[in-house]
């Protein structure tokens, strides 16, 4: 045990009612009058919009394509395109263009929207191409285009299916693994083939017996698949921490360096559905939780449903003032309004009563340093930012921060440590860009 090092983890109170989380609530399509699909990419760049107001669409109609990487976006419902509207985009924290579709509730599918492949005979390249064409993005929260992880990779030994869900409150992976275990495993097998890996490893936290049972039932049918239980700590679901825990390997930038590719459980399910069933992503599980909303539970909602409607479906808000988090309490940024649509990257609506913290001066206890999973020194980074010391910020490896929020969680002085480190990152980036431009 390295006594000079950060312990890099902390057991957080999970706030997960596993019994309640195992119940599937369904927000019927007929109840969702309009869906909103973003017309901009995650960094705000405009997408190539292929439809216009008045166009009829079916489930699987291509709506738009991202310009920077080829990521097609398909309509999750059948109906008519109402037009383009500015709607709040939580990732960008501002309104952005969204394609509005009036839902006719019929779910009429566009035949051959996606080309189906045969999992037995499909080649590696065909699988990757199919994933790309299906526009599959990570459903664990990052929304990263899945095909990129598999394009041109070499020396991959493992596909790691990440069902850890280390953030408090979130339980969609938990439910998905119970209900869709077979699909997940089959999807994982396709991913395994896509990178010539030798084994699939499914990881989830201890004490999740329902998941174990579901997996035990079908894992024997698939050679080369096993599962492993990991400790209930945060941030166990972070790729780097998980790979270190499961395989005892480290890497610098990408898991592929360690011979591993990581995908979320629900992404694997989406891969199976798209490649083998030809189905585009139309719904996703959303975990509505927290003491700021009347009922807690996992809801299956049509993609593009406004968050507000999901909350109403679950009984509405419990307070006048709440914190609305698209995601979990640790990493999600509080939304300014509830009029944003559910997209593949939004797996939870964590709604909390507002707690006011009394901030006092830093007592230099070093708790933040003691717990940082990236082994940084947040308190020193904050100091360096105050002094605008770019050289020291660089030496402190500021850019390696993964914004997990653990430093602020453990701070007894209730300082917004994580926020300050994020600011330091922005400051350093800006300073380095300025210095580079001068040259």
């Amino acid at each position: 045990m390295n006594i000079f090092s950060s312990v890099a983890k902390l057991h957080l109170e999970s706030h997960k009612d596993l019994e309640k989380a195992s119940v599937l609530h369904v927000l019927e399509d007929t109840k969702v009058a309009k869906v909103f699909m973003p017309a901009v990419g995650p960094n705000g760049a405009d997408m190539n919009v292929l439809v216009k107001a008045g166009d009829p669409v079916l489930v699987g109609t291509k709506l738009a394509v991202r310009k920077d990487m080829y990521v097609p976006m398909y309509s999750p419902v059948s109906g008519t395109v109402a037009g383009i509207e500015l709607v709040y985009h939580p990732g960008l924290s501002r309104p952005a263009n969204h394609i509005v579709i009036l839902n006719d509730g019929k779910n009429t599918r566009l035949p051959d929207a996606l080309k189906v492949i045969d999992p037995e005979t499909a080649t590696k390249d065909e699988i990757v191409a199919a994933i790309k064409e299906a526009g599959i993005v990570g459903m664990g929260g990052a929304g990263f285009p899945t095909f990129i992880k598999y394009q041109g990779v070499k020396n991959i030994e493992y596909v790691l299916i990440n069902g850890v869900e280390c953030e408090p409150f979130l339980t969609t992976d938990f439910l998905s693994m119970q209900l869709e275990a077979k699909e997940m495993i089959q999807g994982a097998m396709l991913l395994k083939k896509a990178c010539d890996a030798k084994e699939v490893v499914i990881a989830f936290k201890v004490h999740k017996n329902a998941v174990k049972e579901a997996l035990d039932a079908c894992i024997s049918c698939h050679p080369g698949v096993r599962y492993v239980e990991v400790p209930d700590v945060y941030p166990m679901g972070w790729e780097k921490a998980l790979i270190k825990q499961v395989f005892n390997r480290t890497y610098e930038k990408l898991p592929a360096e360690a011979g591993v590719i990581v995908n979320n459980t629900q992404t694997a399910v989406a891969v199976y559905r798209a490649l083998v069933k030809g189905e585009v992503l139309t719904h996703r599980l959303v975990c509505v939780s927290g003491d700021g909303v009347k009922n807690n539970g996992n809801v299956l909602v049509p993609l593009g449903t406004l968050a507000r409607e999901v909350v109403e479906f679950m009984g509405g808000y419990a307070e006048e003032e709440v914190v609305l988090l698209p995601g979990g309490p640790m990493t999600a940024k509080a939304a300014e309004e509830d009029g944003f649509p559910i997209q593949p990257a939004i797996g939870g609506l964590t709604i909390l009563k507002n707690k006011i913290h009394h901030e006092v001066p830093c007592l230099r206890c070093g708790n933040c340093t003691m717990h940082c999973p990236a082994f940084l020194q947040p308190v020193e980074i904050m100091d360096a930012l105050e002094r605008k010391d770019e050289a020291r910020l660089a030496k402190l490896n500021t850019m390696k921060c993964v914004e997990c929020g653990l430093c602020a969680t453990v701070c007894p002085s209730k300082i917004d440590v994580s926020e300050n480190v994020k600011r330091a990152k922005r400051y350093l980036k800006f300073a380095q860009a300025k210095a580079a431009a001068k040259k």
Partner: protein
């Protein structure tokens, strides 16, 4: 509906800084309670009450200082003044410092010292440096240094003047166990408690069954609290572990190098003085420690090094607070240097810690070994001034008087100095030589300056003689007349004077004269001056200081040849017997020089007229 958009994360630990400080205060209060109980039970109610009041006064003064600063710094934007003041008082945690500071003081400390110290800690060390979170030095440790240096003579371990009321103090100097221990044999290099004036054993030492600073004695309680606080994450375990570990390991090495009992010496080192208290409550202060886990361990090692160094080689009986102050200075530097990822460079970090430890062990072990060797080899010739080969013939003194003087006793951060002098007198009670038998002065440069100037001092006192010495009554070292002190070593010079005064204290000196004429008409009146030295009612010696000669010619020669015999006749006579004489006895007359002899007799009578007055 309102959506709050404060920055995340939105699940915070329930632990607050206030909780941490309150738990620390609770531990301190436990230590304080023991101090109160010990003083009540082992000594007396007055002491128990003083123990209570010491902390209370410290708290009250600190509170007032806090309120003052909060009021001065209050701005419109802070909201209502009262609320702001209360908020500032609660969240600046000065009360923790107040308790710690009071617990480092001895029971006999005057209240004004507590007040000054508390104000210094709060206003100067804390607020002047930026308040909570920004202070460079641990306020309690610095305040302790400040009062220890400024009011060293007031840091007594007894109330009033009755030293015997307090068990375990040295009855003469009032020195505490720690100070007694540090002056046993070679400094801090004894492995047994039996030589102490106090009658305590190892269990007493750890159970706090002795008199020392208010909170520092109950070592076992403090160590238990250390474990509890570390588990509750109120203090970081690395700092006290590495600090106590370094001191323990250094003690083992010192014991091995100097042939002491390893276990006993190590136990004494850990249990004596303010080590445990400083380790748990002062060195662990997070504000003045580095933030990285590596830094927190490193300062433990460095502080351990300096503590032991001051103990074995420094002037002071105890070095804990000075070690803490020095390490406080190093904290920012250590943080500045430890920039990498915390899980990297582990070997390098251990290397630094190990190197610091090795330096601590080597330096302290070496110094201890040298000190012990020097002490052993210098004992037989401790009064070596007489064994120096000299070109002058050794004069055997007629009489040697001895005297002793000590400097004021004080607690922990100064040491009691005792000087013993021997004054060699000739038959005429003139000073032939002054030699110092024991502990002339402090070490280092002082020693050299003293040695160089010493002969001049002896000459001075030879010049003024016993009479001059008795006449000198300077109030302190600063009031000594020129020539009677060596610049820069005034305390020792003052002590020398006091020792000399002690030596000659039994000698009474009387002056007298008589005037008469050898004949009525053509002889001028002659005045003879005498100085009579009396000890214990017996005339020791008579000096004729003026008007020795009488008429010239044969009378003069006759007188000069024979008057010493007259003086010898009177010398050794009891004063009472002399005063009973109406006229000089036949032995007191020089044949043919009766007038002068008579004059001598009358002069002595006049001198002794004030005897017994």
């Amino acid at each position: 509906m309102k959506f709050i958009t404060t920055p995340g994360p939105f699940q915070r630990s329930k632990r607050t800084t206030l909780q941490i400080m309150l738990e620390l205060s609770a531990a301190l209060v436990l230590v304080w309670i023991f101090g109160i109980v010990y003083n009540f039970v082992a000594i007396g109610p007055a002491y128990g009450i003083k123990a209570i009041l010491m902390v209370v006064v410290s708290l009250v003064v600190t509170l007032l200082a806090d309120v003052l600063v909060a009021a001065i710094r209050h701005k419109e934007s802070h909201g209502p003044m009262m609320k702001h003041i209360i908020d500032q008082v609660i969240h600046n945690y000065s009360y923790v410092t107040a308790i710690i500071f009071a617990l480092t003081l001895p029971i006999g400390v005057p209240y004004y010292v507590i007040i000054v110290g508390s104000l210094f800690a709060t206003l100067v060390v804390k607020y002047a440096f930026g308040g909570f979170g920004s202070n460079v030095f641990n306020p309690a440790a610095m305040a302790r240094i400040f009062v220890g240096v400024s009011f060293s003579g007031s840091m007594l371990s007894y109330l009033g003047t009755d030293i015997s009321a307090v068990p375990t103090l040295d009855l003469i100097s009032g020195a505490t166990v720690t100070t007694q221990f540090s002056s046993l044999g070679t400094k801090w290099l004894t492995d047994s408690l039996t030589g102490l004036s106090a009658n305590i054993n190892m269990l007493d030492l750890y159970m706090g069954n002795y008199s020392g600073a208010l909170g520092e004695t109950f070592t076992i309680l403090i160590l238990v609290l250390c474990v509890v606080l570390a588990i509750r994450k109120v203090i970081n375990w690395r700092t006290p572990a590495f600090y106590l570990g370094t001191v323990a390991l250094t003690s083992v090495i010192i014991a091995l190098f100097t042939g002491l009992n390893v276990l006993d010496y190590t136990l004494i080192s850990l249990g004596m003085g303010g080590l445990a208290f400083g380790a748990v409550f002062m060195l662990t202060d997070p504000v003045t420690s580095p933030t990285s886990p590596f830094g927190k361990a490193l300062i433990g090692v460095i502080a351990g090094f300096i503590t032991v160094l001051i103990r074995v080689q420094g002037n002071l009986p105890e070095g804990v607070v000075y070690a803490i102050a020095i390490v406080n200075i190093l904290a920012p530097v250590i943080d500045k240097m430890a920039t990498g990822l915390t899980n990297t460079n582990t070997l390098k970090k251990w290397g630094v810690v190990a190197s610091a430890a090795v330096v601590a062990l080597a330096v302290n072990g070496g110094i201890s070994a040298i000190n012990v060797r020097n002490a052993n080899s210098s004992e037989p010739s401790s009064s070596e001034s007489s064994s120096e080969p000299s070109s002058e013939p050794v004069v055997v003194p007629f009489k040697t008087l001895q005297g002793t003087a000590s400097s004021a006793a004080c607690e922990e951060y100064c040491s009691v100095q005792t000087m013993t002098v021997s004054v060699d007198l000739d038959e005429e009670y003139d000073i032939i030589d002054i030699s110092i038998a024991e502990a002339p002065t402090t070490g280092g440069n002082y020693s050299t300056t003293w040695t160089e100037g010493y002969d001049a001092l002896v000459e001075y006192y030879q010049g003024i003689g016993i009479v001059g010495i008795q006449a000198m009554t300077p109030a302190n070292a600063a009031a000594m007349p020129a020539g009677s002190f060596i610049a820069g070593v005034t305390e020792s010079s003052f002590r020398l004077l006091n020792a000399l005064k002690d030596a000659v204290s039994d000698v009474e000196v009387y002056f007298g004269n008589a005037t008469s004429s050898a004949c009525e008409e053509y002889c001028d009146p002659q005045t003879m001056d005498v100085t009579v030295y009396v000890e214990a009612g017996i005339i020791s010696t008579i000096k004729v200081t003026g008007g020795i000669t009488t008429t010239s010619g044969n009378y003069g020669t006759n007188w000069a040849e024979n008057y010493p015999a007259v003086l010898e006749y009177y010398q050794g006579m009891a004063v009472a017997d002399f005063l009973a004489l109406a006229a000089p006895a036949p032995e007191g007359m020089v044949a043919g020089v009766t007038v002068t002899s008579d004059r001598l007799f009358v002069a002595i009578q006049h001198a002794l007229a004030s005897y017994g007055g």
